[in-house]
Structures are given as structure tokens and as C-alpha cells.
């Protein structure tokens, strides 16, 4: 099987970030929680930026062997 999916997919990362921002913009937080959220937000933002910057598209091809098992190889088309 191909490599397992990242736990923090980019989509989830962004969703969480948006949630953090919304909560910070909301009314119901004490300073301590606000600071914690802010720190988490900054960290997630940094991770997301790093991923955007570092990414290089991977192309693989999916084949089956004679027994019908999936094989994933690098694709060099």
C-alpha cells in the first residue's frame, strides 16, 4: 500500500486554523486560553507555510502483480 495519509492533512490544518481565528475573534475567552490558541495558531500557520514551500509533486503509478496485489511505483512518464 502507498504511504499512510498524514494525520494532519492540509485541509484539516486549515480548518483548525480557521476555527482558532474564529474563536479568537469571538467573545468568550479568557486571556490564558486566548494565548494558548494564538500559540497553536502560529504553529499551525508555520507548518502549513512550510508544507506549501517545500512541496514537490510526486507522481506514482498503480499496477497489480500477477496475484492481483497492488503495486505502487514511481512514475517516470
Amino acid at each position: 500500500m502507498p504511504a499512510p495519509r498524514d494525520d494532519a492533512s492540509f485541509a484539516r490544518q486549515l480548518e483548525r486554523l480557521e476555527e482558532i481565528v474564529r474563536r479568537l475573534e469571538g467573545q468568550e475567552l479568557d486571556l490564558d486560553d486566548a494565548l494558548k490558541l494564538f500559540e497553536e495558531g502560529v504553529e499551525r500557520l508555520r507548518q502549513a507555510r512550510d508544507r506549501l514551500a517545500a512541496a514537490e509533486a510526486k507522481v506514482k503509478q498503480v499496477l497489480t502483480d500477477q496475484a492481483g496485489n497492488l503495486k505502487v511505483e514511481d512514475f517516470d512518464g
Partner: protein, 385 residues
């Protein structure tokens, strides 16, 4: 029959041919005398048998011929003809011995109507898909905004795949492309595509799929009009973008997909966000985050101030209340003060030592004492009785 057949013997009943012999002979004569040829006429009594062979009658105003088109010849065609359709057939005239019937073995069949068999097959399959609700717009799923794994079902050496890779690498290199190679045209291509789609269903963690190919002739694109391919596309567990041929070609595969893109490049664009746009979005989020915290802490400072103000106000009110209370208590104390009583006209008698003289016995005749009234003290003496 055969080389020993004696034609002269057959003029007498004794030399009669068998049915088999005469039909075999007729068949040999017809096949030798009429090479394969094009025939035009109108279809009637069309019937496709379970075996895949087609039987029909070709006729015009004056005559009719039974025709058969075997499965090996008709499988290249998208669909059987309709009764009443004007067609050209390329056929070998023969005699069908079992029925003693003159007929045409059809090798190819063209419709003279606009769109012909292709259009007919398309409409038929489309109707079947619609009947099963597969063309319902409500079925269309939104594409994921930030896909991580994109499956691509196409020919491994077509321009379509190169375009999809190039666009994805430029726009959204975070994605991993999983190419599932398949033939996209030619006989049996539809079976290969269905197998590729089945393979796709076994992959985990896919976010979106792209299926398609570059432009080509109607026959080349036909693979994507197979009802079977369309049903396999409709059954995919993830959203799928279809891009078959050019803008003007709409296939059944396009119709059942969650999104139809005009070209493979456009499909890759539709399936991916642009990295630059996402970076801008991140910058916005960063700004909102900072503003959010500033506003948050600003609000907290304000609230602190307000709290202090309220505390001060409360203290003040408290003090005020205390002051009043002290005043009231002072009043009550006053009322109890003996001086207040003197004010009402009473007087206080004390002897030289300051002892209060409360009883007659203490006030012996001639005793000098002091009398305290409200505004002072005077000397007094008990009169001699």
C-alpha cells in the same frame, strides 16, 4: 453431392438429390457468383440474440433479404440499428442451409441517418443512466479544496497525463498523483478502464479522481460512452472530474462525473487549488490571528479597567453608606445623651463631689449643691424648711 455427383442421374426420380445436397450446392453457387458487396435498404425485424448475433431483414419497396451480423463483426458497433433505419451493409450473400434461405452475412453496417448508430447508442445508454438516477445533478459531490492524493485514470503515454502532471506540479505540488494506466481507445478499452476504476476503488486515502484523455475521433472517444464505463465512474467512492476529448465532445462519462472539465489540463486545475492563492489565504489567517489576539487582550484590559472602576465605585458607595450609618448612629447616641434630656427642661443635681443627688434624703436642709441645666451650671442650696 460432391465430385461424383451425376447431374444426368438427377433428371430421374431415382437420382434425386437430398435437401442437404441441393442447399449446399446453391450456397456454393451463390458464394462463388456474388463477391461481398455493399447493399442499401431499410432495417426491419431487428433482433439481437443472447449469443450477441444480430438478425434482421433488409428491404426496399420490391424485395427483402434476411441478414445476420455475427457478434465478432457487430461488436465494433456502438449499438444495433433501429427498425425503419436506412442503412448500408457490406455483406457476403450466402444460403443458410438449415432453412434453405438466401441471406446476407453482414460484415459492416453504416447508418445513413445523422449521428447514426453512435447517436442511437448514446441516447439509449443515456436514457438507462437517467432512469437509474445517475444523471441527477443532486448526485454531484463538491471537490475537496485541498486534495492530498489524486488518482488519474488515463493512458500512461498520452498528452492528457503530461498536461495533468504539469498543471498539478505548478498549482498544487502538495498533492500526490497516482496514475492508474489504462488503454483509452480501441477494442476492449472499456473493459480495461473498468478494471482501472476497480483498482482505484482499492486505493486508500484518495481525495479526488481525474479520468480522461485528449481529443480524438468519435470512434476513439467512444470508450467513454460505454454504459458500463459510465456506471463504473458513477459508482466511484470519491468525487471525480471527467475530461474526455475537447470542449465540444460530451461523453456519458462526462455526464455522470461530479464535474466535467473541457480538457485534461482544466480537469487538473479544477481538482487543485493554486499554491499562491493558498499562501495568500494563509497570510490572511495569520493577520486575523494576530488581530484576534490583540483584540482579545485589548478586551481583557478593558474589562480589567472596568472591573477596577466598578470596585472603586463599590468602595465609594460602601463608604458613603458607612458615613450615613455613622451619622445615624451619632443621632441615636445624641438622643441618649443626658444633655439632650436637660434640653427638654430637666435638671441634674450633684453635690460638691459630683455625686448625683437623686433622693430627698440626700438633699438635707441648707445643703449646697450644683444644678446642671441645659446651658450651664448654677450654685444652689436647699432651703431651710
Amino acid at each position: 453431392m460432391g465430385p461424383g455427383l451425376d447431374l444426368f442421374a438427377a433428371v430421374a426420380p431415382e437420382g434425386a438429390w437430398t435437401v442437404g445436397e441441393v442447399t449446399r450446392r446453391a450456397r456454393a453457387v451463390v458464394e462463388a457468383g456474388l463477391a461481398p458487396l455493399w447493399v442499401r435498404g431499410e432495417i426491419s425485424g431487428f433482433k439481437a440474440w443472447q449469443s450477441g448475433h444480430w438478425y434482421f431483414t433488409l428491404r426496399d419497396k420490391s424485395a427483402q433479404i434476411r441478414c445476420v451480423m455475427f457478434q465478432k463483426d457487430n461488436r465494433r458497433l456502438p449499438a444495433g440499428p433501429r427498425d425503419g433505419m436506412q442503412v448500408f451493409v457490406f455483406a457476403r450473400p450466402t444460403v443458410w442451409e438449415e432453412k434453405g434461405e438466401f441471406r446476407l452475412t453482414v460484415l459492416d453496417l453504416l447508418s445513413t441517418e445523422a449521428g447514426g448508430l453512435w447517436q442511437l447508442a448514446f441516447e439509449k445508454a443515456k436514457k438507462a443512466l437517467a432512469r437509474d438516477g445517475l444523471l441527477d445533478p443532486a448526485r454531484k459531490r463538491p471537490l475537496p479544496p485541498y486534495p492530498r492524493r489524486i488518482a488519474v485514470v488515463t493512458s500512461p503515454d498520452g498528452a492528457a497525463l503530461r498536461d495533468i502532471i504539469a498543471v498539478t506540479a505548478r498549482r498544487w505540488p502538495i498533492a500526490e498523483l497516482l496514475v492508474i494506466p489504462t488503454r483509452v481507445q480501441g477494442e476492449g478499452a472499456e473493459v480495461e478502464i473498468c478494471a482501472a476504476l476497480a483498482l482505484l476503488c482499492r486505493l486508500e486515502g484518495l481525495d479526488v479522481a481525474i479520468i480522461g484523455r485528449g481529443g480524438g475521433s468519435r470512434e476513439d472517444l467512444w470508450t467513454f460512452n460505454h454504459e458500463r464505463v459510465a456506471r463504473a465512474v458513477a459508482a466511484l467512492p470519491i468525487p471525480v472530474v471527467s475530461a474526455v476529448g475537447h470542449e465540444t465532445d460530451v461523453t456519458l462519462c462526462d455526464l455522470v462525473a461530479d464535474l466535467r472539465a473541457p480538457t485534461p489540463s482544466a480537469a487538473a486545475e479544477a481538482a487543485t487549488p493554486d499554491r499562491g492563492d493558498v499562501a495568500t489565504e494563509l497570510a490572511h489567517l495569520g493577520a486575523r490571528l494576530a488581530r484576534g489576539l490583540a483584540a482579545r487582550s485589548g478586551r481583557i484590559a478593558e474589562r480589567l479597567d472596568r472591573t477596577l472602576d466598578r470596585m472603586a465605585a463599590a468602595m465609594e458607595r460602601r463608604l458613603e453608606r458607612d458615613r450615613h450609618a455613622v451619622g445615624a448612629a451619632g443621632g441615636r447616641l445624641d438622643a441618649l445623651s443626658p444633655l439632650k434630656i436637660l434640653e427638654r427642661g430637666y435638671a441634674l443635681a450633684r453635690d460638691a463631689e459630683g455625686q448625683v443627688l437623686k433622693r430627698v434624703a440626700q438633699l438635707t436642709p441648707g445643703l449646697a449643691f450644683r444644678l446642671r441645666v441645659t446651658d450651664g451650671e448654677v450654685a444652689a442650696r436647699v432651703g431651710k424648711s
